[in-house]
C-alpha cells in the first residue's frame, strides 16, 4: 500500500501558473494594474481594455469549447488561471457574457443565436447584464411580474428589473419574463428572453452602491418590442434555462482568488503600519489574528480543491461543494473586516487617493462592496434553506 491521494499541483500545472503569472505581469499596463488594486477595482473602460488584451492572447474564455474560442484547458488549469486573474484584477462586467449568458446560449440557443451573440461576447464588442430580480421578487425569484405579451412575431415587454448590475454600460440584457400569467405553478410560464438595451422604451437608472461604485441599476421597460427570435430555450422554459447555470464552475463561487488577493493586501498593510514602533505584521497578536483567517482560508481552499479534483476527472463535485459560497463569502468579509481593523484610523479613508493612506490601503470601498457577497446570487440565508433541503434532506413544514 502507498498513498495515491495527492493534494498538490503537478509540476506542469505549477509551470502553467508561472506562465500565466508572467504573462499577466508583462501584458497588463501599469495604469490598469494600479486601478485594479485601488479602492473600486477596474471601471468599465479599464475592464474592457483588459478584456481585449486577454482576448488578443486567446485567454478570454478558458471555459468555452475550444472551437468557440476557448483555450482547451482542463478544470485544474482553468482554476489556476482564474485564481491568477483574480489576483491581479478580475474582469467584472465581462463575466455576465462569458460565464452566464454565453454558456446558456451554447446550451439552449439556436444556431443563429450562437452565431449572432457568441463572437461579440468573446471579442468584447458587446456586453451583457442580467435581468432577473424585481423589486418584489428578490429571494423569491419565481414571483417575478415583468410581462411579455404575445404580439405575433414579437413580444411587448413591460415592467421593472432591479440589481441589473452594469446595465449602464451593457448593450444587451438577458431577462426572465412572465409569458403565461395563468400557469398553475409560478415557476412555469416564465421565458428566458434577450433584449437589446437600445430598443425604445428601455430606461436604465444607475444607482450608487454602499461602496459608491455605480454598479447597480434599475432598468425599466415600457412597451418594449422584442422579437420572438430572442427567446432562448423555448417559450415558458425560462426557469429550466436559468437553473442550468447553477451547476457551472461552482469553485468560482468560493472566491479563492479574491480571498487570496485580500490576504496579500492585508499582510501588506500590516507590514507597513506600525504598533509600538514595529510593523504590525511582526506583532504576535496581529500575526495571530491574520493566521486564524489564513488557516480558515486553507480549510476552505481544500474544500475547493476537492471539488476541483472531481471536476478534473469529469465528475460532478460532491455535496460539499454546496458550502463553497456560504463559507467563501463569509471569509472574504472577515478578511476585508480585518484589513479595516489593521488600518486603524486610516480605515476612515474614502477615495482620497494620494491624500492620506497609500492606494494599497484604500480598502474601505472594497470592504463595502464585499458586504453584498452574502446577499447576491442567492443570499446566504437562501443558500442555507437550499442545503437544508437538498443536501441534509431536513423535513419541510
Amino acid at each position: 500500500m502507498h498513498a495515491v491521494m495527492n493534494l498538490t499541483f503537478t509540476e506542469e500545472e505549477d509551470a502553467f501558473r508561472q506562465e500565466v503569472r508572467a504573462w499577466m505581469q508583462e501584458a497588463m499596463p501599469e495604469g490598469l494594474r494600479r486601478a485594479a488594486q485601488g479602492a473600486g477595482g477596474l471601471n468599465f473602460e479599464e475592464s474592457v481594455e483588459w478584456h481585449k488584451l486577454l482576448y488578443a492572447k486567446g485567454w478570454i474564455a478558458p471555459h468555452w469549447p475550444k472551437e468557440l474560442g476557448g483555450t482547451g484547458w482542463d478544470a485544474t488549469r482553468r482554476f489556476i488561471f482564474n485564481e491568477e486573474l483574480e489576483m491581479v484584477g478580475a474582469l467584472r462586467i465581462s463575466v455576465l457574457g462569458l460565464s452566464m449568458v454565453g454558456p446558456l446560449i451554447m446550451q439552449f440557443g439556436t444556431e443563429a443565436q450562437k452565431q449572432r451573440f457568441l463572437p461579440k461576447i468573446l471579442r468584447g464588442e458587446e456586453f451583457w447584464c442580467q435581468g432577473y430580480s424585481e423589486p418584489n421578487a428578490g429571494s423569491d425569484l419565481a414571483s417575478l411580474r415583468m410581462t411579455a405579451e404575445d404580439a405575433g412575431d414579437h413580444f411587448i415587454v413591460n415592467g421593472q428589473k432591479t440589481w441589473t448590475s452594469w446595465a449602464q454600460n451593457a448593450d444587451w440584457i438577458f431577462c426572465l419574463v412572465r409569458t403565461d400569467p395563468a400557469a398553475a405553478k409560478k415557476q412555469n410560464g416564465i421565458t428566458f428572453l434577450l433584449v437589446d438595451l437600445k430598443t425604445p422604451g428601455v430606461d436604465v437608472k444607475p444607482m450608487l452602491t454602499l461602496g459608491h461604485a455605480p454598479a447597480f441599476c434599475d432598468t425599466f421597460f415600457d412597451n418594449v418590442k422584442v422579437p420572438k427570435e430572442n427567446i432562448v430555450g423555448g417559450l415558458n422554459q425560462g426557469w429550466t434555462v436559468a437553473k442550468a447555470l447553477l451547476g457551472h464552475e461552482r469553485t468560482l463561487l468560493a472566491l479563492i482568488g479574491p480571498s487570496r488577493h485580500v490576504l496579500h493586501k492585508l499582510k501588506h498593510i500590516a507590514s507597513t503600519k506600525t504598533v509600538n514602533r514595529r510593523p504590525m505584521l511582526e506583532d504576535p497578536k496581529w500575526r495571530a489574528k491574520i493566521a486564524r483567517l489564513e488557516m480558515r482560508f486553507r480549510a476552505h481552499l481544500m474544500v475547493s480543491y476537492r471539488a476541483l479534483s472531481d471536476q478534473q476527472k469529469g465528475k460532478m463535485p460532491g455535496p460539499e461543494a454546496s458550502i463553497l459560497k456560504l463559507v467563501g463569502t463569509k471569509l472574504i468579509q472577515e478578511l476585508t473586516e480585518l484589513a479595516m481593523e489593521v488600518m486603524g484610523e486610516n480605515s476612515l479613508t474614502w477615495y482620497n487617493e494620494g491624500v492620506c493612506a497609500p492606494i494599497e490601503e484604500s480598502i474601505g470601498p472594497y470592504f463595502c462592496y464585499e458586504r453584498s457577497a452574502t446577499i447576491y446570487g442567492g443570499s446566504n440565508e437562501i443558500q442555507r434553506n437550499v442545503i437544508a433541503k437538498m443536501i441534509l434532506q431536513l423535513p419541510s413544514r
Binding site: 418584489n136 454602499l210 476612515l348
Partner: protein, 374 residues
C-alpha cells in the same frame, strides 16, 4: 442604584430626539454630504442657543454645569438621524480638552464662544504612527522668542478643516504639550479628506507655525494626562452615539422584516431571521447598558474606577455594535447595499466610531493590563 434618567434628562433626550426627527432627518445629512457643505453654522448656533453645547461645562464658562451624561444623551439622540454638526469633535474632543487644560482667559476666548454656537473647535492629536497612543507623537514645539514654533503633521482631525481653533499636541522640552492655534494661522496647511461615513476630516501640516506663549494650555508636559482623559470621554461619546445608531438600525430592520414580503409571507415570520433579530436586540441592549456605565464613569477622576467600564463599552461597540450593523445590512438584502437606502449610512458611521478612540484590541489590552480588573 438608579438607571433612570431624571426629569430634566428625559426632557433633554426628548428635545434632541424631536429636533433630529423634525429638523434634521437623514435626508438633511445626505444633502449636506452630497453638496459638500458638511454641516450648517446656523444649526450649530441654534444648538448653542438651546444650550446643548454647554451641557458638560461649568456655569462660569457659560456652561450648564451638567455631567457627561447629558453630553451622552445629546450624542445618542443626534445619532438617530445622523445629524452632521460637529458635536463630538467640538464639544467633546475640543471642548472637554480646553475645559480641563485651559485657564480662565483661554476659556473665555475659545470655549465660551463655542458653547454659544459662535465657533467650533477641533482636536489635532493623532499622527500617522500614533495608533491610539496620544503620547506617540513627533510634532515638536520649539521655543522661539516668547512663544513656540510648531512643526509636524496631524491626521484625521475631525472638523479640522472648518474649526475656528485647533487644539494641537506637540512635544516641548517638558513633554507633550497642548496649544490653541487658529485654523487660519500662517503655516497651517489643511488638506480635506473624505471619511467612510460620508463626512470629512483634515490632514494638517504644521509648517513652523508661530504661537505665542499664551496659546499654551497649561504647563509644558501636562498634555498627555489631559488627552488621556479626553480619550476616555471620546470613547464614551462614541459609544453613546453607537447606541443611537444600533437602536435605530435595529428598529429599521424590525420594521423591514415586518413589511417586506417574499414567498407570499412577511420575511419577519421566518424563524432564522427572527432569531437573528433577537440576537441583535440582545447586543444592542448590552451596548445600551454598558454605555450607561461608561457615561457615568467618564466623569470619575480616578482612572482605576473610570477606565474599566469605558473600555468594556467600547469593546461592546466593536463586537456587538458592529455585529448589529452587519446584520441590519444583511437582513435588508439587496437594498441594504445601495447608497440610496439609509441603512448603509448608519452602517458606515458605526465603522467610523469603531475606528476612532481605540479599537477593540486597544481596549482589550488596556482592560487586561489594569490590575483592578484582575
Amino acid at each position: 442604584m438608579d438607571f433612570e434618567l431624571d426629569q430634566e434628562q428625559q426632557m433633554l433626550a426628548k428635545t434632541v430626539s424631536d429636533f433630529a426627527k423634525n429638523e434634521s432627518p437623514v435626508e438633511r445629512f445626505r444633502k449636506l454630504r452630497d453638496d459638500g457643505t458638511g454641516y450648517d453654522p446656523a444649526v450649530w448656533r441654534k444648538m448653542g442657543e438651546l444650550g446643548w453645547l454647554g451641557v458638560p461645562f461649568v456655569e462660569s464658562v457659560g456652561g450648564f454645569g451638567g455631567s457627561f451624561i447629558e453630553c451622552a444623551i445629546v450624542l445618542e439622540n443626534l445619532a438617530t438621524t445622523l445629524v452632521p454638526e460637529p458635536y463630538l469633535a467640538s464639544v467633546v474632543l475640543g471642548g472637554m480638552t480646553l475645559a480641563r487644560a485651559g485657564n480662565a482667559t483661554q476659556h473665555e476666548s475659545y470655549l465660551t464662544p463655542m458653547i454659544e454656537g459662535e465657533s467650533t473647535l477641533a482636536l489635532a492629536y493623532s499622527e500617522a504612527q500614533s495608533r491610539y497612543d496620544v503620547s506617540a507623537i513627533e510634532t515638536t514645539a520649539t521655543p522661539d522668542g516668547s512663544g513656540y514654533r510648531l512643526l509636524g503633521e496631524k491626521v484625521w482631525v475631525l472638523n479640522g478643516h472648518r474649526a475656528d481653533h485647533l487644539i494641537v499636541s506637540a512635544k516641548a522640552s517638558g513633554g507633550v504639550t497642548l496649544f490653541v492655534v487658529p485654523r487660519e494661522a500662517e503655516g497651517v496647511n489643511v488638506t480635506v479628506a473624505k471619511t467612510i461615513d460620508g463626512q470629512e476630516a483634515a490632514f494638517i501640516k504644521l509648517d513652523n507655525v508661530a504661537v505665542a506663549d499664551d496659546a499654551r494650555l497649561g504647563e509644558e508636559g501636562s498634555g498627555a494626562v489631559v488627552l488621556d482623559r479626553t480619550m476616555d470621554y471620546a470613547a464614551a461619546a462614541a459609544v453613546a452615539e453607537g447606541v443611537g445608531i444600533a437602536t435605530t438600525m435595529l428598529q429599521m430592520t424590525v420594521d423591514y422584516l415586518g413589511t417586506r414580503e417574499q414567498f407570499g409571507v412577511k420575511i419577519g415570520s421566518f424563524q432564522a431571521l427572527q432569531h437573528r433579530a433577537v440576537d441583535m436586540y440582545a447586543e444592542s441592549e448590552l451596548l445600551r447598558s454598558i454605555s450607561m456605565a461608561s457615561m457615568v464613569r467618564a466623569d470619575e477622576e480616578d482612572p482605576r474606577t473610570r477606565r474599566g467600564d469605558i473600555s468594556a463599552a467600547k469593546y461592546q461597540l466593536a463586537t456587538g455594535g458592529i455585529w448589529v450593523a452587519q446584520q441590519s445590512l444583511q437582513l435588508h438584502g439587496g437594498i441594504g447595499v445601495t447608497d440610496e437606502h439609509d441603512i448603509g449610512l448608519y452602517f458606515k458611521r458605526m465603522y467610523a466610531l469603531n475606528a476612532l478612540f481605540g479599537d477593540q484590541e486597544h481596549h482589550v489590552a488596556r482592560f487586561a493590563s489594569e490590575p483592578s480588573s484582575f
